[in-house]
């Protein structure tokens, strides 16, 4: 063993490694504690009865225990909904991204950019409520069906929700395709459309894959919107039949689940959900590893030597398929823009009327419920969650981009765990927060618990977005700094990190967006009450949770108007955050160009 001196450099490195390894710890903790809490359920119900049973009737005492808790229909429901909505949403998103990057008129580009960012930030509960109050009544009218719960409604809304997320990441990776690929293909005589769809799009495939992974994660984990729209009936998924997903069942029943077996069974659903995510991530990691080097191992064809025979080639024009794709991307982008604008417009128009001074800032209590406590709770959660997540996230990102040996096993493992963490559904985080922070650490249900849980949720966002902007800092700048004799720590903090500042701020804003829109992870960790929080140890509902509260609580006057008003506030928040991002990015760009 070499003696490692306890220098500033080594200490810094150790700290960064620890931050990076934190993700591993977090994932293990989630898996372990969820398993720990589900063991009573598995033991009493039987693992296979639980997984493959087809009846879910926890309170039905006329059935034996082993037959009451079967989640097979929920698994089918989750899988089916994920596949349909990722397929639809993915197609919409990729074409939209292609349009924005390659076909969008210059003047329209910032508009689309803003639109996508704005819509990425809209809370899922708002989408769900839009589906509930606009889409489903519309479907009932169009299809003459008794009710519109089912795969179709859920898919439509969920795929719309996936578009901004998938599109913005696809867009980023398309934009990072080197210009000389594009020029090279054009120089061979390819048409623009051929170049875009056959050269640029494949060149960005890793980024697109990553976007789809995120889409899958979001679809599997989506809880609130899905719960509004699937209807949670005892059916297998079909276009117009109410069915269950794993997430919707957890959030649907957790409020009342308390007996010895019901709650453990719901946690066990969360555990199974987690296993799904782990498997998906492992598969994707394998896929990623395979395609990193060009060439396809599955369809490897040997090239025969021609032995000098010279054939005559006939050259002709191709590319009509790509022309169609081009037209398609115009149409889809327009469609997405219209739909997304409609959602925003619908909610704002319905909600603005309810925004009275008293509703926003009046005293909230037993006599009336206002949003004042929600503003405070939201601010408190954002503050604490970011204070925890930022150092960990930035530290981990620094390790990954500045210290890690690319491709080493440790880095691969860390990346796998960060991907896993970002794929963990927020409802599972909620379960973990409830079980671990709430019960095992004894924090209970309060804003502290909610903030801790959310800091875990936003951690991958902070890591990835910081890491991204760190890797975008050209190596030549690091070389310049090293060549002057600067130390690694100095290079990182003085040369590299300031350039990544806009990325870090973006990650902060993305995180704020995530926190503001989060509800599933908060309801059972921070609580849903209408009282002003007295500190981090009291319960408190953030804006999104308040929306859920208005919709679900009994005896609230004008609940629908209040829901829309809260939704309008949420959208305004997202709007403000986005303007902030744009202003900050512009400022940075101006500074660096001057």
């Amino acid at each position: 063993m070499r003696n490692v001196a306890l220098t500033k450099e080594n200490v810094a490195k150790a700290v960064f490694i620890a931050f990076a390894a934190f993700s591993i710890l977090a994932v293990f903790a989630i898996v372990f504690f969820l398993l720990y809490q589900s063991i009573p359920a598995f033991r009493q119900i039987g693992f296979f009865n639980f997984l493959f049973g087809t009846t879910w009737a926890p309170k039905n005492e006329s059935l034996p225990v082993a037959e009451r808790f079967g989640i097979f229909p929920m698994i089918v429901g989750s899988v089916a909904l994920t596949i349909t909505s990722v397929a639809l949403g993915g197609v919409l998103a990729i074409f939209t991204a292609v349009f924005v990057v390659y076909y969008c008129p210059k003047k329209l580009k910032p508009v689309f950019h803003q639109l996508i960012n704005l819509l990425a930030g809209i809370p899922s509960i708002v989408y769900g409520y839009f589906g509930l109050t606009f889409l489903m009544p519309l479907m009932v009218k169009i299809f003459h069906i008794p009710q519109a719960y089912g795969l179709l409604s859920a898919t439509l809304i969920l795929s719309l929700m996936l578009v901004p997320t998938v599109a913005s990441i696809t867009k980023n990776s398309l934009e990072s395709v080197p210009m000389n690929y594009y020029e090279g293909a054009l120089a061979l005589g390819c048409s623009k459309n051929q170049t875009v769809f056959k050269v640029c799009l494949p060149a960005a495939k890793n980024g697109i894959l990553a976007a789809i992974i995120l889409g899958v994660g979001r679809a599997v984990g989506e809880t609130m919107a899905v719960q509004f729209l699937v209807g949670s009936g005892d059916n297998y998924p079909a276009l117009f039949l109410p069915f269950r997903t794993m997430t919707s069942s957890i959030v649907l029943e957790m409020g009342y689940a308390d007996d010895a077996l019901h709650k453990p069974a719901l946690v066990a659903i969360g555990f199974i959900l987690l296993l799904f995510i782990l498997v998906i991530n492992l598969c994707l990691a394998a896929v990623k590893r395979n395609d990193s080097i060009s060439g396809n191992k599955l369809f490897n064809r040997k090239v025969k030597e021609s032995r000098g025979a010279i054939s005559k080639f006939s050259w002709h024009k191709t590319g009509s398929a790509q022309d169609i794709l081009c037209i398609l991307s115009y149409c889809i982008a327009a469609l997405v823009a219209v739909m997304l604008l409609f959602v925003v417009g619908f909610v704002l128009i319905k909600g603005v009327g309810g925004l009275t001074w008293n509703f926003l800032f009046g005293k909230s209590g037993n006599a009336q419920v206002t949003l004042a406590p929600a503003f405070v709770s939201t601010g408190m959660v954002i503050l604490l969650a970011l204070l925890i997540a930022l150092p960990f996230g930035i530290g981990a990102a620094i390790f990954l981009s500045e210290y890690a040996k690319k491709g080493s096993r440790f880095v691969k493992i860390i990346n796998l765990f960060i991907d896993t963490l970002s794929g963990v559904p927020s409802v599972v985080f909620g379960l973990f927060g409830m079980v671990f922070f709430g019960n095992i650490l004894g924090i209970g249900t309060n804003l502290l618990n909610g903030s801790l849980t959310l800091s875990l949720i936003v951690l991958p966002t902070v890591i990835r977005s910081t890491e991204q902007s760190l890797t975008e800092v050209p190596d030549s700048m690091r070389e310049a700094s090293y060549a002057l004799g600067a130390s690694k720590v100095r290079t990182i903090f003085v040369v590299v990190l300031p350039q990544a500042l806009s990325g870090i701020i973006t990650s902060v804003i993305l995180s704020i967006g995530r926190i503001v829109s989060e509800s599933a992870a908060l309801i059972y960790t921070a609580g849903a009450v209408a009282y002003m929080p007295q500190g981090y140890f009291s319960r408190g509902a953030t804006l999104s949770v308040m929306m859920w509260f208005f919709n679900s609580a009994d005896g609230i006057a004008d609940a629908q108007a209040k829901c829309f008003a809260t939704a309008a506030i949420l959208i305004l928040c997202v709007l403000i955050l986005n303007i902030l991002v744009t202003v900050i990015e512009k400022t940075f760009r101006k500074r660096s160009n001057r």
Binding site: L484, G485, V495, N593
Partner: protein, 261 residues
């Protein structure tokens, strides 16, 4: 804090390389290099792409440490100090053996901050001292007049030639004894190239300049000594006039007379 000292260069040579081999993984990029770089001279290294000249110049201030799987045997000395010795202080080495890269790489800071970065690294915080260093370095790189009114603007807004001279100024800011230049003009137009060549001639009065260049005319114009590299070996090193008129080795002759490369 401990002061960073200059290297003692007493003999004729500022830098000596003795029997040096370098591998990237299993690929041997440099084979048995032995050469001496005379003090206050401008030495040019020429050769076709992939011959190892850039690799060598990067080894001279250990920038190759950043490359994974890079392994070096043999000794490289600045004055009498072995720079690959465990006791050798890396910041000290790089402060005294500065480097200018192929592509201009200004930091994403203002012109002023770019120059002040190096001195700040070595503990100079006093504003008036920094001002003085910035002015002296920029004057040293013959660009003070051009940028004195835009010191607080971003360095990324300068033209390519200006950026490269800024990088030279930045290297000068820490008062190096040796300046390594890795094809400093390959990304620049002829006018900027001319300015930098003039600058090099000025610089070698006060320091040792070692330059990798692709451009034989450049070597011919400004170098005191020229070394020819091929396939990881140093074929020949001599006074520039000798190399270009009476090369000893046939391979050098082929290259210089354009029969190859």
């Amino acid at each position: 804090m401990k002061a960073i000292e200059k290297f003692e260069i007493n003999g004729e040579y500022a830098l000596t390389v003795e029997n040096m081999n370098l591998w990237y993984g299993s690929f041997q990029a440099l084979k048995g290099i032995c050469m001496n770089f005379p003090k206050n001279n401008l030495t040019a290294m020429i050769g076709p792409s992939g011959c190892g000249k850039s690799t060598l110049i990067k080894s001279l201030n250990r920038m190759n440490d950043l490359v994974e799987g890079c392994r070096i045997t043999g000794t490289i000395k600045v004055g009498d100090t072995d720079i690959y010795d465990k006791k050798c202080d890396l910041p000290r080495l790089r402060k005294n053996v500065g480097m200018v890269f192929q592509r201009p790489n200004p930091l994403a800071m203002s012109v002023y901050e770019n120059i002040a970065y190096g001195p700040k690294t070595f503990g100079i915080k006093n504003r008036s001292m920094l001002d003085e260093i910035v002015e002296r370095s920029l004057k040293g790189a013959a660009m003070w007049e051009e940028v004195k009114d835009r010191l607080n603007k971003s360095a990324l807004g300068l033209s390519g030639g200006q950026q490269q001279r800024l990088c030279i100024a930045r290297a000068l800011s820490v008062e190096p004894q040796v300046l390594l230049m890795d094809e400093p003009t390959s990304a620049l137009d002829p006018i900027s190239t001319g300015k930098i060549e003039e600058l090099c001639l000025e610089l070698k009065k006060s320091m040792t300049v070692i330059m990798v260049t692709h451009n034989m005319q450049q070597a011919f114009r400004i170098a005191d000594k020229t070394a020819y590299f091929l396939l990881g070996e140093m074929i020949e090193m001599a006074d520039t006039s000798v190399i270009f008129s009476h090369p000893r080795d046939k391979r050098t002759d082929d290259y210089i007379n354009g029969r190859f490369g």
